[in-house]
């Protein structure tokens, strides 16, 4: 299982700013190791975010996203105490789901 995401959600006015730092290798499949063999691609393919259980964001990612990706987005209508859940699935089928409370 991958390392947990670090999620921060801060309410300001009628929206909340969510910042997510994911821990993932994001290997492109283009690099070669010291022996000259291609390193197999390994990257996050799908990202979803939910506000109190309702999906507010879905994204399809590819190998061009950098290692340990950072994602920031605003959620309209989110207020302090609300739950923000972020999920990702990578191309090996590995998953991760983490939750944060809006402050």
């Amino acid at each position: 299982m991958a390392d947990p995401m670090r999620i921060r959600a801060q309410a300001a006015g009628d929206k909340a700013t969510v910042r997510v730092l994911m821990s993932h290798e994001m290997e492109t499949g283009q690099r070669k190791d010291s022996a000259g063999n291609a390193i197999p691609a390994w990257f996050i393919q799908e990202v979803t975010a939910a506000h109190n259980g309702k999906t507010v964001l879905t994204a399809e990612w590819g190998p061009s996203v950098a290692k340990n990706p950072f994602l920031q987005f605003n959620v309209k209508g989110a207020k302090a105490g609300d739950k923000i859940t972020v999920n990702w699935v990578d191309n090996k089928g590995d998953k991760r789901s983490d939750e944060a409370t809006v402050s």
Binding site: R8, A66, S103
Partner: protein, 137 residues
């Protein structure tokens, strides 16, 4: 342990490690004003010359300040950029939780790359006894 034997222990430890693939190094920062810019530069150079090095930065006391959200150096340049660039290269930044209590700081005030350790000095001692090289910039 006398200073001399400590230095000797570190030298022995580093020589032993040089044989293995990865050098493991602790950078100790306890004063942002005098150490942070220099330390980050040292670490960047360290990784440029030896990209496989595993570096852990342990901060406590006034050394935690450069890991706070919105922290800037003496010339007004933000620390967040260089720190996250190094974090992306595998450098771990650890903050002493005793310092948080003493200075009344909250974990949310620090950048997301930062990690926490119950005590900075204990962490340094443990890593050093595990054979890691010690550098105080």
């Amino acid at each position: 342990m006398t200073l001399r034997s400590l230095v000797l222990a570190v030298v022995v430890a580093t020589t032993a490690l040089a044989a293995s693939a990865q050098d493991k190094v602790i950078y100790h920062i306890d004063n942002t004003a005098s150490q942070a810019v220099k330390g980050l530069r040292n670490i960047r150079n360290h990784l440029d010359v030896d990209p496989t090095a595993r570096i852990t930065v342990v901060t406590h006391a006034e050394g935690v300040d450069f890991l706070m959200e919105g922290a800037k150096d003496a010339n007004g340049g933000p620390f967040a950029g260089p720190v996250s660039a190094l974090a992306a290269r595998g450098v771990k930044f650890e903050i002493c939780e005793i310092t948080l209590r003493n200075r009344n700081l909250k974990k949310e005030q620090f950048i997301q790359e930062a990690e926490f350790t119950p005590s900075g000095v204990v962490r340094i001692a443990k890593l050093q006894l595990a054979g890691q090289a010690y550098i105080k910039p």
